[in-house]
């Protein structure tokens, strides 16, 4: 008996370990994990082939977990949203935003509503918001929380807590759509890209949930690297990595994102995000 357990344990525990020199990256979990693994698995293969090093994607559970993994050098590269990127760079001196999607400088959010609210697409946020229930994405999502809340406060001159009878956080955009569609919440704020993608996939029942307002443009998702990667991976590594991201032209890979290509980004591109976050009290 004892021996059996022993053998079982040894066979189970002797598992291959990841080599110390694997380049690891992560992404904020803004979408269903299946989709993330599909998308970033492709990126890992691409980067690995292009840069001739081992590249691995690790999924994380939450937005702050992505930031924490980045700060602790457990990942060297990350696909952040506007706000998480700012958080990560404030916590990790030397970190640089290096690339963003072509669509990302002009990103936007949709406010969506369950059909039972009777709300329709409008130019301004309606006073009818008062007393409704509202669902944001993750607490530190740029398109699912920060910018929607920023415009909400600007237009209705009140905090979400004062406007709505209940404010919830779903964790990610797919869930926000599902929960508003099911009627668990009356209103929601989502990343427009996720909405369009789920609409194309046939996951959205437009007889139950509809877009009622679109925010103005703001910069959002981007790739950020740690400042110390050249020291570890050799001079010019960050530049090579950046070029590799710009060179992505495989339609299948881009469609998984979904972006039409990647273009340069810099830390100052997100100053507007930082000031908006300070404005609504998400950053000090």
């Amino acid at each position: 008996m004892t021996r059996l357990i022993l053998i079982l344990c040894i066979t189970l525990f002797v598992t291959p370990t990841v080599s110390a020199r694997t380049f690891v990256f992560t992404a904020i979990p803004d979408n269903d994990e299946t989709r993330l693994i599909q998308r970033f698995g492709k990126i890992a293969t691409y980067l690995s082939d292009t840069l001739n090093i081992k590249v691995k994607y690790i999924p994380v559970k939450s937005y702050p977990a992505a930031v924490t993994a980045f700060r602790h050098n457990q990942v060297q590269l990350a696909w952040f949203g506007g706000l998480t990127g700012v958080q990560a760079r404030r916590l990790t001196p030397g970190a640089q935003a290096i690339a963003q999607g072509q669509e990302d400088p002009k990103f936007k959010s949709y406010f969506i509503a369950h059909i039972s609210t009777g709300l329709q697409l409008a130019d301004d946020l309606p006073q009818a918001f008062y007393g409704k229930t509202m669902l944001f994405g993750s607490k530190s999502s740029t398109s699912g929380r920060l910018m929607p809340e920023f415009y909400l406060r600007k237009q209705l001159q009140n905090t979400p807590g004062e406007i709505f009878s209940r404010v919830g956080f779903s964790g990610n955009h797919s869930r926000t759509i599902a929960l508003v569609q099911s009627g668990a919440y009356q209103l929601g704020a989502v990343n427009y890209q996720v909405w369009e993608q789920e609409l194309a996939d046939g996951k959205i029942d437009t007889s139950k949930v509809a877009i009622i307002w679109t925010t103005p443009d703001y910069p959002d998702y981007h790739w950020t690297v740690r400042g110390d990667i050249d020291a570890v991976w050799g001079d010019g590594f960050a530049a090579k990595l950046q070029q590799a991201l710009f060179d992505i032209n495989d339609p299948e890979l881009l469609a998984a994102f979904p972006r039409s290509g990647f273009i340069p980004a810099s830390n100052t591109d997100y100053d507007v995000i930082e000031s908006s976050a300070k404005n609504i009290g998400l950053l000090d």
């Binding site: 357990i5 344990c9 269903d32 924490t68 916590l91 668990a184 000090d284």
Partner: protein, 493 residues
């Protein structure tokens, strides 16, 4: 049926507890907000009835991670707890132990992840630290109980240590072992739910499946989890531990990183902002934290915890006959045993998560989750206790026996179990805020999300103080009601 309540003090206290619970239930934030809870329930049920498993590889990884965290965490806690229990007469040690165990392991996890990143050290210590506090207390209580029972004759000048090892140790080691094994079982539960905050354990997979509505996979993972817990007495025996510990260490070692300057960073982050930055005024910084987070969070935690306590007790009274030899037959008892094991083994975070999906956000999912989990535990303890009752040959049976004989006779012991559970319920009620209900956990989680660790630590300390207060209140109540002081510790599982 109504001769349950033995004397007026008890009926006063219980009456006011129940009345308060009803009042809070009516006025509190309790509702079913989903438009069609039935549809989701059907999908959940369909999934639960057709369990599926993730790929073997992924499953082995999460299981090994979960078990390794629990093993190493509990081993460290057992050593630490044992050493601290030797000095438990010292007030400072008691305060330290009470403080570390008043903070839920998930909050320790959130804090330690900031210190170490997402790596095994954070998970192991998140279990080890609070468990050290718990084990020190329990070890000390066991020791005290034994020492009161028997005084062995040793030379008067024998040292404290030789008294301990020659006189006490032989008597207490089985109680120690049995309680430590129970803690290991708890450690597996804790290890599992640490996955909810991002460590790569069973909970990580569970949350992923839940979030995407893959209920078949949720069912598969839960079955494996029950299997793990149900067989722990077989594979978790202490004679295997030396091997296990070495293997766990070998398994986790490649991922463990001891980082240098992070402690300094963390300590700096924990200093309240106004003290580290001159331009922020303390009052204007603290006031919104107090009025918008701390007080509402504490209030919702109290409301949830109180209603859950009363419901747990009620549920336990209904359920305990399922286990008792005085009722039913072997088949019903077997069925009762299985259902109680499932109810109490499922971590309340997972129950809460499921109810939240079903009913939408209000305090209701948290209350139901706490009541089911804790009600099943109290029912289990009470049911087992009832087996010690010896009946007269002409005693009534069935409902008469339940109402007039058994329940009245074990009522005091039932209250002891319930009041012991009070503190645990409060700690868990704070925690369930992580799911999005506005108990303290919600605000703590939010503070971590915005990397305001100074705010997080204030809220965590407030939660710990609430816990210590509830613990003392429970002790005072037990005294006031003149309930038996000791809990039969070896019975506590």
């Amino acid at each position: 049926m109504l001769k349950l309540i033995p004397d007026s003090r008890t009926s006063q206290v219980l009456g006011s507890f129940i009345l308060l619970a009803i009042l809070l239930f009516i006025t509190g934030d309790i509702s079913i907000t989903t438009a069609t809870p039935g549809a989701e329930f059907q999908r959940m049920l369909a999934g639960l009835l057709h369990p599926q498993w993730p790929p073997f590889d992924a499953l082995t990884q999460v299981l090994l991670q979960t078990i390794s965290y629990a093993l190493l965490g509990v081993a460290i806690a057992a050593i630490g707890g044992f050493i601290l229990s030797l000095f438990f007469h010292c007030r400072l040690i008691r305060i330290v132990c009470a403080s570390v165990r008043a903070v839920h392991e998930l909050f320790w996890g959130l804090l330690l992840i900031q210190l170490f990143g997402l790596q095994p050290l954070a998970g192991i210590l998140a279990i080890a630290i609070p468990y050290t506090g718990i084990l020190a207390k329990i070890y000390a209580e066991i020791k005290q109980e034994i020492q009161q029972r028997k005084k062995l004759y040793l030379p008067t000048h024998s040292s404290y240590l030789s008294q301990f090892f020659y006189a006490d140790w032989p008597q207490i080691k089985t109680d120690f072992a049995s309680y430590t094994l129970y803690r290991f079982e708890c450690g597996l539960r804790s290890g599992t739910i640490l996955g909810f905050i991002g460590l790569p354990t069973l909970g990580f997979q569970l949350e992923t499946s839940f979030m995407q509505g893959h209920y078949a996979e949720v069912a598969g993972l839960l079955l494996i989890f029950y299997g793990l817990i149900a067989t722990v007495h077989w594979w978790g025996q202490f004679k295997f531990w030396p091997i296990y510990l070495v293997l766990a260490l070998i398994y986790l070692w490649p991922n463990i990183i001891f980082t240098g300057n992070n402690l300094e960073w963390l300590l700096h982050q924990l200093i309240p902002l106004p003290l580290s930055t001159a331009e922020v005024n303390f009052y204007s910084w603290f006031k919104p934290i107090l009025t918008e987070q701390l007080l509402p969070g504490l209030w919702q935690t109290l409301v949830t915890g109180h209603i859950a306590l009363v419901l747990s007790a009620a549920l336990a009274l209904i359920l305990y006959p399922l286990l008792s030899h005085h009722f039913g037959n072997p088949v019903t008892r077997w069925g009762g045993h299985i259902s109680l094991v499932v109810m109490r083994s499922t971590p309340e975070l997972i129950l809460g998560f499921a109810f939240l999906l079903l009913w939408g956000p209000s305090l209701l999912p948290a209350i139901a989750a706490l009541a089911i989990h804790n009600g099943a535990i109290i029912a289990h303890l009470t049911g087992r206790h009832s087996n010690h009752i010896v009946l007269r040959p002409d005693a009534p049976s069935g409902i008469n026996s339940y109402s007039y004989e058994i329940t009245p006779r074990l009522f005091n012991q039932f209250l002891v179990f319930t009041f012991y559970r009070w503190e645990v319920i409060m700690r868990e009620s704070a925690l369930l805020g992580i799911l999005g209900l506005h108990t303290l956990g919600f605000f703590i989680d939010s503070a971590f999300e915005s990397f305001r660790l100074d705010v997080a630590i204030i809220l965590i300390i407030a939660g710990a103080m609430l816990n210590i207060a509830v613990d003392s209140a429970g002790r005072l109540l037990r005294q006031y009601l003149q309930l038996p002081g000791h809990l039969v510790i070896s019975n506590n599982r």
